[in-house]
Amino acid sequence: MITVSVSHLVKRYGKKVALDDVSADIEGGSFFCILGEPGAGKTTLLRIIAGLEIPEEGNVFFDGKEVTLVPAQKRDVAMVFQDFALYPHLTVFENIASPLRASRMEENRIRDSIQLVAHFLKIDHLLDRSPLFISGGERQRVAIARALVKKPKIALFDEPLVNLDFKIREDMRAQFKLMQKEFKQTIVFATPDPVDAMSMADQVLVLHEGKVQQLSTVWEAYFRPANLFVATYLGFPPMNVIEGELRTINSQTVWQASSLQVEVTDRVGGEREKERTVLLGIRPEHIVLGEEKELKVRWEGEVVLSEVVGSDTIVHVRVDDEVVLRSFVPGIYRVAVGENVKVGFERGDVYLFRENGETLAFPKRFWKGE
């Protein structure tokens, strides 16, 4: 297990800046997730760690030793590509064996290593088949087997779940976590899907347009996002964001957007004078529909849409002329469009952001360590 560090990486493709001053430490044995939209620079970062690309600026270190210019062949790194890149003219067995053959391992040791990893990934029965004639999920497990069989210093996964259907994706998330524990493998996992990060990652690096938005544990990124981008990116459905202003009413600080008000005195401290436009964020899972007496903030509105996602419901409620809030209701919740409902949430669950997107205040929930 080694610690991988990248420092101040810059990579351009023509005029497009793929990575802009990216630094991170990836601890040995950890599950490290690179999260970002398509084009954020995730693949470029993986390829630089793998040695398939050389950065224009910055360095890569394996256990403190600089490897920026060391070719991929000599880095002892494995990578699972988005399209799996299996050799179609070789059997599954030979595909998995290829890194071992490259290192001139003895035939019976090759066989044993492959048996072990194939058994774990439940692909023993496919070993004689051609990768052309197995399913997408099986192909992916073959690609993973090929990456893990040589016990690389670090295993890189480039969006391996995006090509798979929903059900297999669910299974694979659990498998990945188990696998990482079983093989005590350092894993770097690039994904556009925050659910992947939240279900598997120890650490998460959020990238946006080549720039690091946040590098922290995944829960810290969820509860204490560095900025509006991270806040809205992590979590599904995405956070509700309403633009408003801070006002002082009866010596209390109040966030206000036309008819909507939230008292935030204890949240903004001395900053209240400086901030005029402030964005208020509230996660859909923290908004409760109906009469809940305990809640400090209660608004009224009209249901504009109710969608059932899986076995949960997302209800869209118009609480002001231009403001529609999404509320996440566990289970199937039946409500008619046009119906008037009450929405409520805790003041402590509110996020506040400056106009430029920087976070002004985190929810209280995390402060108590709940």
Binding site: A50, G51, P71, K74, A85, Y87, H89, S98, P99, R101
Partner: protein
């Protein structure tokens, strides 16, 4: 109603009638005619009389030392020549992709390699004939470099000389096919192999060559077919000589039928030669499939 329908069905047949007619006149009838002629002894310059000899012509061809040695020469010329073209073309194609990164330079170099192929066979042959005379440019360069001049058209070397000229002109075809095959291999496989820690040799053996197998087999077949019917360069550069040193079956066949006018004998020879081609292609495909 019925008439309209039947006319509709017949129309396609009417449409293919002209080419059908041409094929019958130019291909099928001469083939059948050649079978008929091959069972006869016939020299139209001596008499219009055709004497039936049964399979006599065929037996004579199979015992004809001149024909058999022409076949041997073709084996040397095609086997070695085409193999060299194929290997050379593949090596150059792989080197272009491996060592020239700039697409513009790569295309320029590729086009330069293709130029000889765009030249008419006869023009290339004529040009080389001038270059390889005893006091020609090539020998002048050799002498200038301190070597002794080479008798390019001497008995021992003439066939090899033609082979070299053919390699010069036609390596471009396998090169082009190999290049196209190489750049169609997904780059991801190479990256994957590099991460596996595979050496360049292993990558060549396990990815590149297996992937290029079918296109290369096709390139070999195309060049082999061309060399099988090869005539132009022999005709222009040596006219089969000195003696029979560069006499390939096609050239001997041409001589027999159209210089000596032993038409029946020539027809039998062309059938035997054709039959060998069919067997060769059949064996080749069996081999290409099994590899």
């Amino acid at each position: 109603m019925f008439q309209a329908k039947s006319r509709k069905i017949k129309t396609p047949y009417y449409l293919i009638l002209p080419p059908q007619f041409l094929i019958w006149v130019v291909v099928i009838f001469p083939l059948i005619w050649a079978v008929y002629i091959s069972f006869h002894d016939w020299n139209p310059t001596i008499s219009p009389q055709r004497t039936f000899v049964g399979i006599g012509n065929y037996l004579a061809v199979l015992r004809d030392i001149r024909f058999l040695s022409a076949l041997g020469r073709m084996l040397y010329y095609s086997g070695l020549g085409v193999t060299i073209q194929l290997v050379l073309g593949t090596v150059i194609a792989l080197a272009l992709v491996e060592y020239i990164r700039s697409p513009r330079i790569r295309t320029t170099v590729l086009v330069l390699f293709l130029l000889p192929m765009m030249m008419a066979e006869a023009v290339a042959a004529q040009m080389w004939t001038l270059l390889i005379t005893d006091t020609g440019t090539i020998n002048n360069i050799l002498v200038w470099l301190g070597f002794s001049p080479v008798g390019w058209r001497a008995k021992e070397l003439a066939l090899t000389t033609i082979m070299i000229v053919d390699i010069w002109q036609w390596t471009a075809l396998p090169l082009l096919i190999a290049y196209a095959a190489r750049i169609s291999i997904p780059e991801g496989l190479y990256e994957s192999a590099r991460l596996d820690g595979a050496s360049k040799w292993l990558i060549l053996r396990r990815i590149t060559l297996p992937y290029m197998r079918v296109p290369l087999a096709i390139a070999f077949l195309l060049r082999f077919m061309d060399s099988y019917k090869f005539l132009d360069k022999v005709f222009i550069m040596t006219y089969g000589g000195p003696g029979t040193a560069t006499e390939l079956p096609t050239f001997y066949l041409y001589q027999t039928a159209f210089s000596y006018f032993k038409v029946g004998y020539g027809a039998a020879m062309s059938w035997i030669f054709g039959f060998i081609a069919i067997v060769a292609m059949f064996l080749f495909w069996r081999l290409a499939k099994s590899v």
